[in-house]
């Protein structure tokens, strides 16, 4: 019995070390005094200095976060409305069709979504840049939010809606005072999920960035092709710290929100370490 637990623990640690090793490797080399990933030539903040002196990369970081925040906020609003609509549909056929359309978007390869957006924007004569990236990020985030919110609605006690109506609430009062607060953990999870997806999306963004505008993942990719500068390591290290802070923020927000509820924060997105 004891032996079993021990093996399970060892296996778990092994997996985690394997998962995190490359990231730690990257972070450690961001402090390397040398300019390459081979050979440790001493500790230095040099690459961080270079990073902060590089105004282009700072601008890209700001853009990336702006896109992530805006797209996840808008996707949360649209996705929640969509989930409410699907939930309230009476016809099972229409419900299933909409749900399937939602899920197809979720599983279809990013490359296809990215390419189709590129074609759409080109056909419409839409100039590529901040707006095109934002629109496509909103589009691929909506199904994620729907997926996170819908189960909340389905497990919500039906008589809550009946009670609110019974006590005289109109549709808006019922929604704002009862339904939205009850499903808020789902909306929050959807928001954070959409945020991380937007933050680390490469494939879709790569198609629709156009000239001049870039996000982090696309920038790192294009720079890496010319040989990785350790400046990128410094950037990755900082992004890792930000992701970590986000996980902690999500944890705090969701436990506080769910403090008084039996069901509260469910899973946390291990995906948040992103880049």
């Amino acid at each position: 019995m004891l032996g079993k637990i021990k093996w399970a623990n060892i296996y778990l640690w092994f997996v985690f070390i394997l998962l995190y090793l490359p990231i730690f490797f990257l972070i450690i080399y961001s402090f390397n005094a040398g300019d390459v990933m081979q050979g440790w030539s001493g500790f230095s903040w040099k690459h961080y200095g270079e990073l902060f002196a590089d105004t282009r990369i700072i601008e890209i970081v700001v853009n990336t976060f702006l896109i992530a925040i805006l797209s996840s906020l808008l996707a949360s609003v649209i996705g929640t409305a969509g989930a409410l609509y699907i939930y309230n549909l009476k016809q099972p056929l229409a419900k299933n069709v909409l749900l399937s359309l939602n899920n197809v978007l979720l599983v279809s390869p990013d490359v296809i979504i990215g390419a189709s957006f590129l074609i759409l924007f080109t056909v419409l004569g839409f100039s590529l840049g901040f707006t095109s990236v934002l629109l496509s990020h909103i589009a691929f985030s909506i199904p994620i939010v729907v997926l996170m919110v819908l189960p909340r609605l389905q497990e919500m006690n039906q008589s809550l809606v009946a009670s609110a109506k019974d006590l005289g609430a109109n549709n808006w009062q019922m929604l704002s005072r009862v339904v939205l607060p009850v499903i808020s953990p789902g909306i929050l999870a959807g928001f954070f999920m959409a945020f991380t997806y937007s933050l680390d999306d490469f494939a879709v963004t790569f198609f629709v960035t156009g000239n001049g505008f870039s996000t982090l993942s696309v920038e790192v990719y294009s720079r890496a092709r010319q040989g990785v500068s350790l400046e990128i390591n410094a950037l990755s290290a900082m992004m890792f710290i930000v992701s970590l802070l986000m996980v902690i923020a999500y944890y705090i927000i969701s436990t506080r929100a769910a403090k008084n509820k039996k069901r509260g924060a469910q899973m946390m997105l291990a995906a948040t370490e992103g880049l």
Binding site: A162, K165, L167, G168, R177, V182, S184, K261
Partner: protein, 391 residues
């Protein structure tokens, strides 16, 4: 007086007269030939109800009998496919839920998990736009009524089932409804708590003097709490009356079987006040039937007594018995093979042959397919007769 003023006076007069009428004779809720069907499935058939203000009504029946459907029609969650529902004389078929002067206590309470006890109870008044001070007074008053004053700041998931129940009642009553609808509110509580809540609900109803419509499948609950009971089955009101009426004078096999324990046997009404069953003639108190009409005979277990074989009207063999605290429940078999349930104060011996005795007025006769109106009329007629006989 000019014409305009004259007309105004007339309008005023008719209005005040109408108001008089609603106050004295109009039922608070009335169903006129109400039916409800889903596709080809008829859930309710031609329901007529008239509920007077200030009384405790119970809709009693097994699941699927249509009792909750009636409640949902009253509250407005369902719309009838036929007939009219009236509130204080006005048809309200199309009035939406939130505009009706009634509130519901739901079976699973439907308390808002995102609010504490205070905010749950304050929900209705705050929707109405009452001032903060008024809301606070109202909530305090309601929590006092359900004895939860100390729990105002509690979260819903910190409450026991019984406390949730009380919050649900307080929340519904905080809207000052004229009718409170209760959908099997006690079914999730344990036996002792249920008994307590039955008593308290009755007390609250009498204190507030508003109309309660209570839905239950528990006949004991219905008998204990109600002023008036509607017994439902198959989407039809089988019988309505006071608890005593329904228990003592069930109209048909279903009601006799559903309300309390019954011994139901086939019999023949040989003449007025003479019924034949288990191969013997018995004197009874029913009349007004065709000679030799086939009927069903009901004898309640608590009306039967065990005695010596010589003194018994019937002779039975004790088959089984179980101790029930204040009595023994005995199953006995007569010589025709009919099974009899008897509540006896003394312990018996299984296999023993004993006499079974009862009084003429303990025999209740049910005709087949008799309508409620005919049933009531017949009962009234021979009750007068028997008074005459005695006089």
């Amino acid at each position: 007086m000019n014409l305009r003023a004259f007309l105004d006076t007339i309008v005023l007069l008719t209005k005040s007269e109408g108001w008089e009428l609603t106050n004295t004779s109009t039922p608070i809720i009335e169903f006129k030939n109400v039916g409800l069907s889903y596709d080809d499935n008829e859930v309710l058939k031609n329901i007529d109800l008239a509920l007077e203000a200030g009384k405790f009504y119970t809709l009693l029946g097994p699941s699927g009998s249509g009792k909750t459907t009636i409640l949902n029609l009253i509250s407005g969650q369902l719309t009838p496919t036929r007939g009219d529902i009236l509130f204080e004389g006005d048809v309200i078929n199309d009035v939406p839920v939130e505009k009706r002067h009634m509130n519901t206590v739901f079976q699973d309470y439907g308390l808002f998990p995102n609010m504490n006890v205070f905010d749950n109870v304050a929900f209705g008044p705050s929707i109405k736009g009452m001032s903060k001070a008024d809301i606070k007074n109202k909530v305090t008053e309601m929590l006092e009524l359900v004895k939860l004053t100390a729990y105002a700041d509690r979260e819903i998931n910190e409450l026991s089932g019984g406390q949730k129940q009380r919050v649900a009642i307080a929340r519904a009553l905080a809207n000052d409804p004229e009718v409170l609808l209760l959908d099997e509110p006690l079914s999730a509580l344990d036996y002792k708590l249920r008994k307590e809540m039955q008593y308290e609900l009755r007390e609250i109803q009498q204190r507030l003097g508003i109309t309660f419509v209570f839905v239950t499948h528990d006949q004991e609950e219905a008998l204990a709490m109600s002023d008036w009971i509607y017994v439902m089955n198959d989407g039809v009101v089988q019988q309505n009356g006071s608890p005593e009426d329904i228990y003592d004078e069930p109209i048909n096999h279903f009601v006799a079987d559903f309300i309390g324990e019954s011994n139901i046997l086939d019999g023949v009404m040989k003449a007025d006040y003479l019924v034949h069953f288990t191969g013997k003639d018995f004197e009874n108190v029913d009349a007004g039937m065709r000679p030799n009409e086939q009927v069903e005979v009901v004898l309640r277990p608590e009306d039967l007594d065990l005695t010596s074989v010589e003194n018994g009207k019937l002779v039975v063999t004790i088959d089984d018995q179980s101790f029930r605290g204040d009595y023994y429940e005995i199953t006995a078999i007569d010589d025709d093979g009919n099974e009899w349930q008897v509540q006896a104060t003394n312990k018996s011996t299984i296999g023993e042959r004993v006499g079974l005795t009862f009084d003429p007025e303990d025999i209740h006769i049910m005709r087949f397919n008799e309508s409620e109106d005919d049933f009531d009329a017949r009962l009234e007629s021979y009750e007068d007769d028997s008074d005459d006989v005695k006089a």
